[in-house]
């Protein structure tokens, strides 16, 4: 990967406006960019756009021999590719750290969280299973790739249908889509990642764009940046955490993780609902034999590329309502707690401490606290 | 094994049909009787200590700086040598020039199985052996920080392929005008049931490596020498041989290597003669043209003067 340099001016400017409560594109701290999901003509293909970040995902399947240690389970394989299309600094067919990092995060989120019923993918034990392969291709990289890619992975997996099979004796017949209706994949839960950029170790920016991402992970000349970082939270629709990952400097404030999880819980549920809704409507359309195709995403929107409408710099509207809304995340958190889930997360009275307890008994108290306050 | 995305692949579980023929597996004795009869005459009519006839030419690959093709009956090997080039990806200065060797088998070169395209252990071992043999041969101090690429391609393998590869590489180096100390020659000997078998075929090599029931000597030796300097540049033995046997084989190999030298020399000399003749012819033609031109000039001058 070619190195990309940020000027100190840029860095300082971004740092400054963020600390004053603004973002370059006029969003609030916990406001995401516009999310858009489009499905292609094949099952399991979709393009997800998050602001200007665009990711294409395609699920394919084939019959393979299962792994020896898991003879009755199908195989899920996730492959991320970042071509020079994403941004000029990427080179073709090169393994970059970012690529490995993304691959691993998605694997953690979808493979390790066991969201797919792998046993349902088995055809003949020890002989034939379905191998599901998710190809995630980054088309445009404008920050928050992980979130965008995870939504794409989830939508394509949920959208995907594999051909039906019939077993007769030893042989297995794979039916084409026209012969028999294909079968959707069973998902136990719908995990989604969301990214937060941490500024000054207490400001959380949800859905950071490329500039915000790069500034918070890079260090300025005067002060080596110890306060910034990227926090990825993977959660499913039941508000269970599937993944937590921090890059950049360590946080010395646990509160921020809680805050992030609170924010993520809500956001993830919304995203999952949206994905489910879109898939349902897509299914509906398909049943009515409406042709769905990626050509639908071609619009005239971008004609304005060089006019102000498309430039992502915006001044925030100074509305009295808006200003108060920024800081009331704590209230929102409490509202969230009312939702039904296996676990409830309650922010406790003492600052920097939260208790987490299970409804179904078992281990009662798990305390997460920062050491500084315990002392 | 990961699939090769840069080539067309056949089905994963295909097997050579020879596996299903009747005489796929033969016992040691069966093979032995097939290859050597009771009078000590080999299957192809050679005596035990008789080498195969060698066919060698150089400059077969026009795109290379120097090249050679050597054929020992069915063993066919092409070798090409390219101009010295700077050693890639190297950050330290190297006082001696380096020799990069690569030996590859054609996919169809072996009678027993199809060779995979990707380099495998045997090819790598042969490449190392070839480099070992050539390193003492080339005047490496003459091109510091440069490397010479020597590529060997085995089109058909019927025994003694390392020896042939070394011979071909020596010839190619010489025809590429790379400075060398001496002409390098190599040959192989197989020991089967205590018998010394010069220049074995693939079947004989296979038998020599196969372990007999008895505790007799068996094995394979390949040796490369610089005959004029009386030096051994590489010596490779496999199997199980006692010391006397090794010593005896060494003598035989040395003699055989000596025998090959004049053949290689003849090829090189005939090439020089050919080149020289061509050059002379060209010069002759050029002179004739010039004369004709001069004559015309004279005529013109005369005409001009007259006019």
């Amino acid at each position: 990967m070619r190195d990309l340099f940020l000027s100190n001016c840029e860095k300082n400017f971004i740092q400054k406006i963020v600390s004053e409560g603004h973002r370059l594109d006029g969003r609030n701290y916990n406001e995401s960019r516009k999310l858009n999901i489009t499905f292609g003509s094949d099952y399991g293909s979709c393009i997800v756009t998050l602001g200007e970040t665009k990711v294409l995902a395609q699920v394919t399947c084939e019959v393979v021999q299962p792994k020896q240690i898991r003879p009755n389970e199908g195989i899920l394989y996730i492959n991320v590719e970042i071509s020079p299309m994403a941004a000029p600094q990427f080179e073709a067919n090169r393994q970059t750290d970012l690529l490995v990092y993304m691959n691993r995060l998605l694997e953690k989120c979808y493979k390790d969280s066991k969201c797919i019923d792998l046993e349902s993918l088995c055809i003949v034990v020890e002989e034939k299973v379905w191998s599901i392969r998710v190809d995630v291709k980054v088309i445009n990289h404008d920050g928050n790739l992980v979130e965008c890619a995870s939504i794409a992975t989830l939508s394509s997996l949920a959208h995907f249908k594999r051909p039906d099979i019939t077993r007769s004796g030893d042989s297995v017949i794979i039916h084409t889509l026209s012969e028999k209706d294909p079968i959707p994949t069973v998902l136990f839960h719908y995990p989604v990642c969301s990214t937060f950029a941490i500024y000054n170790s207490d400001i959380l920016l949800s859905d950071p764009n490329f500039l915000e991402e790069s500034v918070c992970t890079s260090s300025t000349e005067e002060e080596s940046n110890i306060n910034g970082g990227l926090l990825v939270v993977g959660m499913n629709q039941y508000k269970e955490v599937c993944l937590l990952d921090l890059t950049g400097a360590a946080i010395y404030n646990t509160n921020i993780v809680h805050k992030a999880i609170m924010n993520a819980a809500d956001k993830c549920k919304d995203i999952v609902d949206l994905v489910k809704k879109l898939i349902a409507s897509d299914d509906n359309l398909r049943q009515k034999r409406v042709k769905i195709n990626f050509s639908d995403i071609i619009t005239t929107e971008h004609k304005m590329s060089l006019c102000k409408k498309d430039l992502n710099i915006k001044l925030k509207n100074y509305n009295v309502d808006n200003i108060t809304k920024i800081d009331d995340s704590d209230e929102e958190m409490e509202k969230n707690c009312m939702e039904i889930s296996k676990y409830d997360v309650v922010s406790a009275a003492i600052q920097h401490t939260a208790e987490m307890f299970s409804k179904k008994g078992g281990s009662k108290w798990i305390e997460i606290s920062s050491d500084s306050d315990e002392d | 094994m990961p699939l090769d995305y840069k080539r067309f692949n056949g089905p994963e579980d295909s097997i050579s049909y020879k596996r299903f023929t009747e005489d796929y597996i033969k016992s040691y004795d069966q093979l032995y009787q097939e290859l050597i009869d009771e009078n000590g005459v080999r299957k192809d009519g050679r005596a035990v200590d008789e080498a195969r006839k060698m066919f060698a030419i150089n400059d077969v690959v026009t795109q290379a700086k120097g090249s050679a093709y050597i054929e020992l009956k069915q063993t066919k090997v092409v070798c090409s040598v390219f101009d010295p080039r700077e050693i890639p990806h190297q950050n330290e200065f190297s006082q001696l020039g380096q020799i990069y060797c690569e030996v590859k088998f054609a996919p169809f070169s072996c009678p027993r199985k199809r060779r995979p395209h990707a380099p495998e252990a045997e090819e790598r071992a042969l490449s190392v052996a070839l480099r070992k043999a050539l390193e003492p041969t080339v005047c490496r101090h003459l091109f510091p920080n440069f490397q010479i690429d020597v590529f060997v391609y085995i089109l058909e393998h019927d025994g003694a392929c390392l020896a042939v590869a070394i011979n071909a590489a020596g010839l190619a180096l010489a025809s590429a005008a790379v400075p060398i100390y001496d002409i390098i020659t190599a040959c192989t000997i197989a020991v089967i049931d205590g018998k010394m078998i010069m220049d074995p075929t693939e079947a004989e090599e296979h038998l020599a490596i196969m372990s007999p029931e008895t505790q007799t000597n068996h094995g394979l030796i390949t040796m490369s020498t610089l005959s004029q300097l009386r030096q051994i540049t590489d010596f490779r033995q496999i199997g199980s041989l006692d010391v006397d046997c090794v010593t005896k084989a060494m003598d035989l190999l040395q003699k055989q290597c000596m025998k090959i030298v004049p053949n290689i020399q003849r090829v090189l000399v005939s090439n020089v003669i050919k080149y020289h003749k061509e050059r002379k012819k060209l010069e002759e033609e050029a002179r004739e043209r010039e004369e004709a031109l001069n004559k015309k000039m004279e005529e013109w001058k005369l005409l001009l003067n007259a006019g």
Binding site: S171 | N9, G10, F108, F151, Y153, L155
Partner: protein, 285 residues
């Protein structure tokens, strides 16, 4: 002297020749190089051919393997062609996995074989859904001096024409396979594609085509490899490819098609004669 001239002024050197209606190696524009073919010289392969077109030397060897057919197409065998460009055949290649150029040649050759339908893959099936032949056709270039695809196809066709398949008996009950290498049947070849390559050279505001170019001519004309590949198969064209180099005018195209057609007949003849000679000599032995 000529060598030095060629080295320091490669384009002008070529121009000087071509403007006098002759090519640097003494050929006329549409004159292909001479072809030498030798079949069945490699005994470790089931069928083989060595072809030299001028300096370009190509070796093709076919090996036979057995495999169950694909589940989707149970009555079809396999024909796997691969063109190998080892580092020794040209100074432009470096050792390692196949270069992009090698993959392009590989794809072109395989496309021609498929398009011409010279082997009916159904002929390669032995027992549907159980057993089929796999023909591994490996084409190795030993010396790459231009017009590689021509040589590859000639070598491939010559070896396919001499290929015979041993008899296979398959016991459906025990799934036992027996092969008798002595009784063989010839593989039927349904067509006879022959390829002629050209380069398009821009000379004084007009285009000329050079048939069967050398590596040097390919370089001069730009692009990678030859610019125009015409495959002619018994009265029909089966695949023309044009990429890189100068644009192709109508006249040049007509010329090229005509040349390709003529050459195809000649080459076809050469291959047939060569195979016949080989058969006769092997009978005499």
């Amino acid at each position: 002297m000529a060598d030095v001239y060629k080295l320091i002024h490669p384009v002008k050197f070529c121009n000087d020749y071509l403007s006098r209606n002759i090519r640097p190696d003494g050929r006329s524009f549409k004159q292909p190089r001479s072809i030498k073919i030798n079949v069945d010289s490699i005994k470790t392969a089931e069928a083989s051919a060595v072809v030299k077109c001028g300096n370009t030397a190509v070796v093709c060897g076919i090996q036979l393997e057995l495999s169950p057919p694909k589940a989707e197409e149970p009555n079809v065998g396999f024909l796997v062609t691969n063109v190998e460009l080892p580092a020794l055949c040209s100074s432009k290649l470096k050792p390692g996995p196949p270069s992009d150029q090698a993959q392009v040649v590989n794809n072109i050759v395989s496309d021609i074989v498929l398009n011409s339908k010279c082997v009916d893959l159904k002929d390669l099936c032995i027992v549907p859904d159980k057993l089929a032949w796999v023909l591994y056709c490996d084409i190795v270039c030993v010396d790459n001096d231009g017009s590689l695809v021509d040589g590859c196809i000639i070598a491939l066709m010559a070896s396919l024409k001499t290929l015979s398949l041993p008899k296979v008996s398959y016991d459906a009950e025990t799934e036992e396979i027996k092969v008798d290498p002595k009784s063989r049947t010839k593989l039927e070849i349904h067509s006879f594609p022959i390829v002629t390559s050209f380069v398009v050279y821009r000379l004084n505001q007009s285009n000329i085509i050079l048939a069967d170019p050398t590596a040097y001519e390919e370089d001069i004309c730009g692009g990678s490899g030859t610019n125009l590949i015409v495959c002619y198969n018994k009265g029909l064209f089966c695949g023309t490819q044009k990429f890189g180099g100068s644009n192709l005018s109508k006249d040049c195209q007509d010329d090229a098609l005509k040349t390709a057609k003529e050459r195809a007949n000649i080459v076809e003849n050469i291959i047939d004669v060569c195979i016949r000679n080989h058969k006769n000599s092997s009978i005499n032995e």
